[in-house]
């Protein structure tokens, strides 16, 4: 059995008095007018209470908390280095994350992190459906927050619909005005918090309000204020349906064994209004009360089946459970379930859940492998690193006594926060003498690599007359604890010269 996303059962959704979901009303409207453009039908999700709603509140507070607090966490680093735990320092070209600091040339760790994120998303989606969309996506979190604010000023679904239809009055003005003011304030707070990730937070806070912050700070803040206000306040489900690629991609991760927010039509159908005096024989548990539809922030009817608009936020589960309690039927008419289980039950078989399938195994293995690689790379990252850049023009210089000199720029990266004294020697060139121009001469040279910086050391290597090219020479840079190698070559032009 294959899963078809967007298996809308149109006949089931259509009622005599027209469709009830916002998406259905849009379809109907476009159908009637035959317009090239589809107007947005406002959605007024009703507040629900329950298990999943509670989890969503907790996650919302947690994630917003992390977002706002993180830049203010201090982390002591020596000297003039920034004391901010998490900082993307564009000016200093460093990324600080608590005890880890990454250099621009180590951007592959960020790539690794993104690959881990993608694979984790694949695995979670294959197992539990669109958890990301329903709980963790910033669009969902901020929209949830905005709806909370909307509800605070305008009341719940019915009050909001009434207010929208009502003529302009002082009451409507202050409610709408208040809502937009608080929305804008939250949007500004969002953009305002973002910029602290890129510059020392307490300093920037003072700079920002005294007009001395870099222009980028103001622009970033303004942009994020605008996008937050527009996306979470006005666009909402339009962002998910039209702007986000993920709803269209995730169909490739889902199969009939993925847990998704599912209307168990095997139990619900045939649906219909139910009177208290009636029994439950010969009919489904769905009393067609529309509680799931009015709770939906995406404006869809979950009973139409899996749809690309559905973000799996599980609010319809809470809404339905409340109704089931009231009519005295078991909960979970709408629940996290799999297409396979629903199909099995409707044929009178026991549902089978298969969390371990080839795709979850592959996703899991890939995730473990990439994570191990990134962790290994981070753990074995040398504190000292050396690269030798050989002069190419000229490739070698013949000196008055016939000996040959090669010039190198040795780049010594010191990733620690302490200055490191290093001893530089060369292997693979017999009888070579090393010299730092204007400085030391000998077999071993000494230099100090400043903390958290790359020190470029010019080194001249003079080889005895008459020797051939040495293709496998290498500099050994010995720090306090470790020795690192910089491979290079030593050219003499022996073959070329007469």
């Amino acid at each position: 059995m294959t899963t078809v996303i967007d298996t809308v059962k149109r006949d089931a959704a259509r009622r005599a008095d027209g469709p009830v979901s916002a998406a259905g009303r849009v379809r109907e409207k476009a159908r009637d007018k035959g317009s090239l453009y589809k107007p947005r039908v406002p959605i007024y999700p009703k507040l629900v209470h329950g298990h999943w709603r509670r989890i969503k509140w907790i996650l919302l507070i947690l994630m917003l908390g992390v977002y706002y607090v993180t830049p203010w966490i201090r982390w002591d680093r020596p000297g003039a280095l920034p004391d901010q735990a998490v900082l993307v320092d564009f000016f200093g070209r460093r990324f600080y994350f608590f005890g880890i600091q990454l250099w621009p040339q180590e951007v592959h760790f960020i790539t690794g992190l993104l690959v881990i994120g993608a694979l984790a998303l694949f695995l979670v989606t294959a197992l539990f459906g669109r958890l990301w969309c329903g709980y963790a996506c910033p669009q969902t979190v901020w929209t949830d927050l905005y709806i909370y604010i909307e509800r605070f000023f305008e009341g719940d679904r019915n009050a909001r619909m009434r207010l929208a239809a009502a003529p302009w009055s002082f009451d409507k003005l202050w409610r709408k005005g208040g809502k937009h003011a608080v929305w804008l304030a939250v949007a500004f707070g969002t953009g305002g918090a973002w910029i602290f990730y890129f510059r020392d937070a307490p300093t920037l806070f003072v700079e920002f309000w005294s007009g001395r912050a870099p222009i980028q700070s103001y622009i970033s803040c303004a942009l994020l204020t605008a996008t937050t206000y527009v996306f979470a306040g006005h666009m909402r489900e339009q962002v998910c349906t039209y702007m986000c690629p993920w709803p269209r991609i995730q169909g490739a991760m889902l199969d009939e064994h993925s847990l998704q927010v599912t209307y168990r039509f095997d139990r619900g159908e045939p649906r219909g209004p139910h009177k208290k005096t009636q029994g439950w024989e010969g009919r489904g548990d769905c009393i067609d009360c529309q509680a799931c539809v009015v709770a939906c922030p995406m404006g869809i009817d979950i009973r139409d089946g899996a749809q690309l608009e559905c973000i799996n936020c599980a609010l319809c589960i809470d809404a339905c459970d409340e109704i089931m309690d009231r009519v005295g039927r078991p909960r979970s008419l709408i629940a996290y379930d799999t297409d396979a289980a629903v199909a099995a039950r409707s044929q009178g078989q026991r549902p089978v859940y298969k969390p371990i399938r080839s795709r979850t195994l592959y996703y899991g293995l890939a995730l473990v492998a990439v994570s191990a690689l990134v962790v290994y790379g981070l753990a074995t990252r040398p504190a000292l690193e050396a690269h030798a850049l050989r002069d190419r023009n000229p490739t070698f210089v013949r000196l008055h006594d016939g000996s040959v000199r090669n010039g190198y720029t040795l780049k010594i990266a010191n990733r620690t926060f302490e200055p490191q004294a290093v001893a530089i020697s060369l292997e693979g060139v017999p009888g070579a003498s090393l010299r730092i121009p204007g400085g030391e001469t000998g077999q071993v040279l000494h230099a100090v690599a400043p903390p958290n910086e790359v020190r470029a050391v010019r080194v001249f290597v003079t080889g005895a007359p008459g020797q051939a090219d040495q293709p496998a020479a290498r500099f050994v840079v010995r720090g306090a604890g470790e020795a690192v190698i910089a491979k290079t070559t030593f050219l003499t032009g022996a073959e070329a010269s007469p």
Binding site: V8, Y37, R40, V397, H400, G407
Partner: protein, 314 residues
């Protein structure tokens, strides 16, 4: 207009076109896409008013903001000149040795030196200063006119056989063969003698024949032992460095034709600061003959200028 076909599954109208059994849906766009389009039209109109936009016959619409890319480039070049002026000021007051001892100032001088070298000196001396046949290498440890900072700066200033009043290169190599000062046999013998001087295989009989000729004709400048005369820029014939080539043919050719290199005097073209920068660049690139240690110069301008100099150098 006839009723358009409707897709059963999605309930959306089709375009009426069919390809191999696949029909295209005519899904309506969300209306806000239209608003975005209107928005970009408004933006374009605002842009036309504010910024230079429309071409005309004799000019173009200037825009209310008065923006001009050309003026901006000029402003940025002025800014660069300001930055450089700070560095130049310090180059002017510091001695060559002081420049070399101050890493910041040296870095600035090296940047200036590199660009000036590439534009002016590389034609003969090569982009990396490696030299070529007839043009001395500036990377090795052989210096005809002295390899210390002051000597290098002096050479750049006055040049070699340049026509400058104080030019170097008073001593010239005669064309012994071409001008018939020596016979062909004598030049051939001398070639063997010079080969022997630098410790290479040579015809012993020819070396013996040439001994007197060398003492008469060559020793006055190149010295009895062939060691040259650093003070007058006379090359050492005993080392491995050969300005006009090291082979027997090259050496014979040089005795016969007696070429004398010319280097222009750069005093007329470069400011004293540029010559200083160039000298520091050449000196550092070759590993330089060691200089006495001096302390870094006192900053000649307000603090923070070092950073400016670095910025200018980039």
């Amino acid at each position: 207009m006839s009723e358009r076909e409707r897709d059963d599954h999605s309930g959306t109208e089709t375009t009426g076109h069919e390809w191999d059994g696949i029909k295209e849906l005519d899904t309506p766009l969300p209306r806000w896409w239209l608003w975005v389009w209107y928005g970009s039209m408004v933006w374009a109109a605002v842009y036309w008013v504010l910024m230079p936009a429309w071409p005309g016959i004799t000019g173009y619409t200037k825009g209310l903001l008065g923006h001009s890319d050309r003026a901006q480039v000029a402003r940025e070049l002025d800014g660069l000149a300001d930055l450089r002026r700070a560095g130049e000021g310090r180059l002017k007051t510091a001695s060559l040795q002081q420049i070399e001892a101050d890493p910041e100032l040296q870095a600035y001088a090296m940047q200036v030196g590199q660009s000036v070298f590439g534009d002016n000196c590389a034609t003969c001396h090569g982009a990396g200063g490696a030299g070529a046949k007839g043009y001395p290498s500036l990377r090795d440890d052989v210096w005809l006119w002295g390899g210390k900072l002051d000597a290098i700066a002096h050479t750049i200033r006055v040049g070699v056989r340049s026509g400058h009043a104080g030019a170097l290169g008073e001593a010239v190599m005669p064309a012994f063969g071409r001008d018939q000062m020596l016979t062909g046999a004598q030049v051939a013998d001398l070639t063997e003698y010079v080969m022997a001087l630098s410790g290479r295989r040579a015809d012993a009989a020819a070396v013996a024949r040439a001994r007197q000729t060398y003492a008469d004709q060559c020793a006055a400048c190149h010295g009895a032992g062939g060691g040259g005369d650093a003070a007058r820029g006379v090359p050492d014939l005993t080392d491995a460095e050969w300005l006009y080539g090291s082979t027997r043919t090259d050496i014979h050719d040089q005795i016969w034709n007696g070429r004398n290199g010319v280097m222009p005097s750069w005093e007329v073209r470069f400011s004293p600061e540029t010559i200083k920068a160039l000298a520091v660049y050449v000196h550092a690139n070759a590993g330089g003959e060691p200089e006495p240690v001096v302390s870094a110069p006192a900053p000649a301008a307000p603090a923070g200028e070092g950073a400016d100099a670095r910025a200018a150098g980039r």
